[in-house]
Assembly symmetry: C2
Homo-oligomer: 196 residues x 2
DNA sequence: TCGTTTTCTGAACGCACGTTCAAAATTTAA
DNA sequence: TTAAATTTTGAACGTGCGTTCAGAAAACGA
């Protein structure tokens, strides 16, 4: 934390501690995720967290940044590569669930943090809804989608996706691929222009 | 708490404290809702809560019971009175938002509690999903609805409704009636048997 | 090798929490 | 009016929390 340029140890410890924080938050909940528990998981003294991140808020902030960056990097390219908005929306949903399959604890921890007491990371949630809304505007412009309220639809889509990590923590055998297909079909019907 | 039959003071205090707990939980979040804050809101000493409810868990339990009972009493009769499953589902959604309009803090507090650290009240959430699922089975039996997975659909509908209290706390001018209509339309399209 | 810098330890501190309980205040009943 | 029962007070206690920091250990550079 002292050096201007990050050393190897610095980078490795930060990554390790962030990962341990994700696991503890996902498994015990944000309320039980104390610095002592996280340090214990990492096999390290409590002071190390303060040393590398300043304080607990710094650690949480690093977790949010890391998870959000990883998730966007995985999903965004897939979505924008789709030829139609309908396929874009489908990909948005399925790639979200794919991310959960690859990183079972990451999204759960992120949602715990966003929901936590103060609204410090409310902006992250708002950004996620805006990202969904972009795809919906795309489909309304091309005429693929009907004239629904994009705010309500985007909020609902995010709520549907964000409900999954909790289900997954209760039943880790949940078939995420099947769940993703079901959700994609559901919102495909909900967004399509009504045919008479 | 001593008397076998509830005193007038006993009942009044219990109701007052439960209401204060709802307000504090809804406004400050479950994490910040300490007994000291709740007692302060009621203009009373901390010991009073322990005296009337045994401990904090007893108070929370009373809040859950009271809110759940009030909500079900308001909504269930309306839903089962509908002639079709599609109208039943619509009523399920709109009566939920009506309840939020009448009791802005109640559902928010209930959701905070259900989401809280331990899964003590996870059964309440599971029950709420089951209630939605019953309406979906109804519609699939009558042939009004398509062949979607009722578990996923019910989870999504509840997630969509449960997302609203948070929106409402961020923008208390939110038009709940319009939001309800939009949601009802969304899930009407999502549940309808596809026409070719 | 040896001095410097980086990293880590673990005890100490103040704070907020839920619970308890003796004593005081209030209400109830005769 | 008076004695018993109910209700309230508020301080005390133990626990777990995040933060701090002097000193020890390890890594680094010459």
């Amino acid at each position: 934390m002292r050096s201007e340029n990050e050393t190897f140890i610095e980078a490795a410890r930060r990554a390790q501690l962030a990962e341990c924080a994700v696991d503890v938050i996902a498994e015990a909940g944000i309320g039980k995720a104390s610095m002592a528990r996280i340090a214990e998981r990492a096999g390290v003294s409590v002071g190390v967290i303060s040393y590398h991140f300043g304080n607990k808020a710094g650690l949480i902030s690093a977790v949010v940044e890391q998870v959000a960056k990883t998730a966007v990097a995985l999903m965004e390219p897939q979505i924008v590569a789709q030829p139609t908005a309908a396929q874009g929306l489908r990909t948005l949903i399925t790639s979200n669930l794919d991310f959960m399959k690859q990183h079972p604890n990451a999204l759960r921890a992120l949602l715990e943090i966003i929901r936590a007491d103060d609204g410090v990371y409310a902006a992250q949630g708002a950004q996620a809804i805006s990202d969904v809304e972009k795809v919906l505007h795309w489909g309304q412009h091309t005429g693929e989608f009907g004239a629904f309220d994009t705010r309500v639809m985007a909020t609902t889509i995010r709520a549907a996706i964000d409900a999954v990590p909790l289900l997954l923590s209760r039943d880790e055998d949940l078939d995420l691929t099947a769940y993703g297909e079901e959700l994609a079909g559901l919102f495909d019907r909900a967004t399509r222009k009504e045919s008479h």
